[in-house]
């Protein structure tokens, strides 16, 4: 099988339940190289659980996850991060008492994967230029010395994405990046995500915002009650009757 055709991530029959409550009921999907995959669904559909299982936060109860052809099902999150799977969190998790620059520096792969070797390296400022370049791309360079906890909401989102990219990942998961944003902020975020897309092979976005997902995603997957109910190009998927019923009908109203 040639490299371009092999999906970067292949999930097969993934299952997860919490105390008997089924969160994921045999979910299978592929993430292809070069694409932005949108993952939608009403609250409780299992989207965040899906991301959390894939990125090693929760162990799965069954099924297989293959990343670049390699079985990564039971690996802990730090190993997955080193292999090139990065993520952001629904409720932003920055290192709030560290500066913006430090937040990016800490994610530099050489140091993060071999922390105690970094005590003996000579070239200690090596990462700063790269980190500043990254901050520049995300319009945060002028805030490099601010504490991350003092950033405005949109800036904090951008920083979290920039930080996720500092480890040079291949696959990036964004868990509800537009949550709590107004229209203008959402537009800025979409631009940020397009910037990010140039730096990684594929992005998976979990999001409620239909307009944003329509504009950004190459493909859409819709989940409901822990199952995949639709998959395809955004225009087709968003008009499918079961999608309209499950998702747009109920949750679209309160947005």
């Amino acid at each position: 099988m040639d490299m371009a055709a092999q999906p970067i991530l292949a999930v097969d029959g993934l299952r997860k339940s919490f105390r008997g409550l089924t969160a994921l009921e045999s979910v299978s999907l592929e993430v292809r190289r070069g694409e932005i995959l949108g993952l939608m669904g009403p609250n409780g559909a299992g989207k965040s659980v899906f991301i959390n299982v894939i990125t090693g936060l929760y162990p799965s109860d069954g099924g297989a996850i293959r990343y670049c052809g390699r079985d990564v099902t039971a690996l802990p999150s730090y190993v997955l991060a080193r292999l090139g799977i990065a993520r952001t969190y629904q409720n932003i998790r920055l290192l709030r008492r560290m500066t913006v620059l430090e937040n990016v520096l800490v994610a530099i792969k050489d140091h993060a994967s071999q922390p105690f070797r970094s005590l003996f390296v000579r070239n200690r400022s090596g990462g700063v230029a790269a980190a500043m370049a990254l901050l520049e791309q995300f319009h945060l360079a002028d805030k490099a010395d601010r504490l991350a906890g003092t950033l405005a909401y949109g800036e904090a989102r951008r920083l979290e994405i920039a930080r996720a990219l500092a480890g040079k990942p291949s696959l990036l998961f964004l868990d509800e990046p537009a949550a709590g944003m107004n229209e203008r902020e959402t537009e800025e975020l979409a631009a940020t995500i397009r910037t990010s897309h140039r730096l990684v092979e594929a992005i998976v976005i979990v999001e409620h915002d239909v307009a944003m997902m329509r504009g950004l995603s190459d493909r859409l997957v819709v989940m409901d009650s822990g199952r995949k109910i639709a998959e395809g190009n955004p225009a087709d998927v968003l008009t499918q009757p079961n999608v309209v019923e499950a998702y747009l009908g109920t949750d679209g109203a309160d947005d």
């Binding site: 730090y78 008492r97 800490v106 994610a107 005590l119 950033l151 405005a152």
Partner: protein
């Protein structure tokens, strides 16, 4: 007399740093009194019974305590917060009980004959550990430790293995406490298990916490002040523990983050705790 001050302040500084090293990765250890006891006894046996030179014996004792620290820490560091603290308390209590039951080192009577520590040993040790910690504070490792302390989950999603980082710090702290314990024993000539009870561990933590754990200069300040204060209030005799306690409470009230807590004070002044949007 002067030499006493230098040696005891210096040893307490290294002990405070041994707690600081573990705190850097976000764990609080009440095991360092136990590690100090391991250092005192292992090095004492090596010098007295086997004629090993003091510095070599101190290093060997440090390595032994570090290894024990890693063995104990591996299961313990997977637990969090209060449970980890309780495990470290358990370490100190068991170390003391084990030493008391070994006749080879004198049981509860204690073990004697250790000589050789001069103030220069202690000064050199403080200088070396200080330089090491200063180098650490300027290296990328400092940021990685900060990240693990702030948010393990976040650190893990950046490729950092929090358990590994915490374990190495725990071992390093055990090493430092044991080396300090070695020099301590070889200054006092005779040590007994009673000297290494849980109260000692609590005091070591207090040195670090009162001085402030935001940077490497806080713990030595705390250790120096806490070691010397009892000397100055000695005239009060029976009121000494009370005066000591009041001073500790006062420090905690006036400087809750420690005497030298630059970073978190600035952080609070900049309002970092209030930015989360509703």
């Amino acid at each position: 007399m002067m030499q006493d001050y230098v040696v005891f302040v210096g040893i307490n500084i290294v002990l405070a740093w041994s707690v600081y090293v573990i705190l850097l990765a976000g764990s609080l250890s009440f095991a360092n009194g136990g590690f100090m006891a391991i250092g005192a006894y292992v090095s004492g046996v090596l010098t007295v019974k086997f004629g090993v030179p003091l510095v070599l014996a101190a290093l060997a004792a440090g390595v032994a305590a570090g290894a024990i620290g890693v063995l104990v820490g591996f299961p313990a560091l997977r637990t969090r917060g209060i449970y980890l603290m309780l495990v470290t308390v358990g370490v100190t209590v068991s170390v003391k009980a084990v030493i008391e039951s070994i006749d080879y080192v004198g049981g509860i009577q204690g073990f004697g004959g250790m000589v050789g520590t001069t103030q220069w040993h202690v000064v050199a040790l403080v200088a070396m550990v200080g330089c090491g910690l200063w180098a650490l504070s300027k290296s990328p490792l400092q940021r990685i430790l900060d990240a693990v302390r702030e948010d393990e989950l976040s650190a893990a999603s950046l490729g950092i293995n929090p358990v590994h980082v915490k374990l190495v710090c725990f071992g390093a702290g055990a090493f430092l406490a044991a080396v300090a314990g070695s020099f301590y024993a070889h200054y006092l000539i005779h040590v007994a298990p009673d000297q290494f009870g849980i109260v000692l561990s609590v005091f070591i933590v207090l040195y670090a916490v009162l001085g402030g754990t935001n940077n490497l200069w806080g713990p030595p300040i705390g250790a120096a002040i806490m070691t010397l204060i009892p000397e100055f209030v000695r005239g009060l005799e029976s009121w000494r523990p009370t005066a000591f306690g009041i001073i500790i409470l006062g420090l905690l009230l006036i400087r809750p983050d420690g005497l030298l807590a630059f970073r978190s004070i600035t952080a609070r002044a900049r309002g970092i705790f209030v930015t989360k949007r509703a």
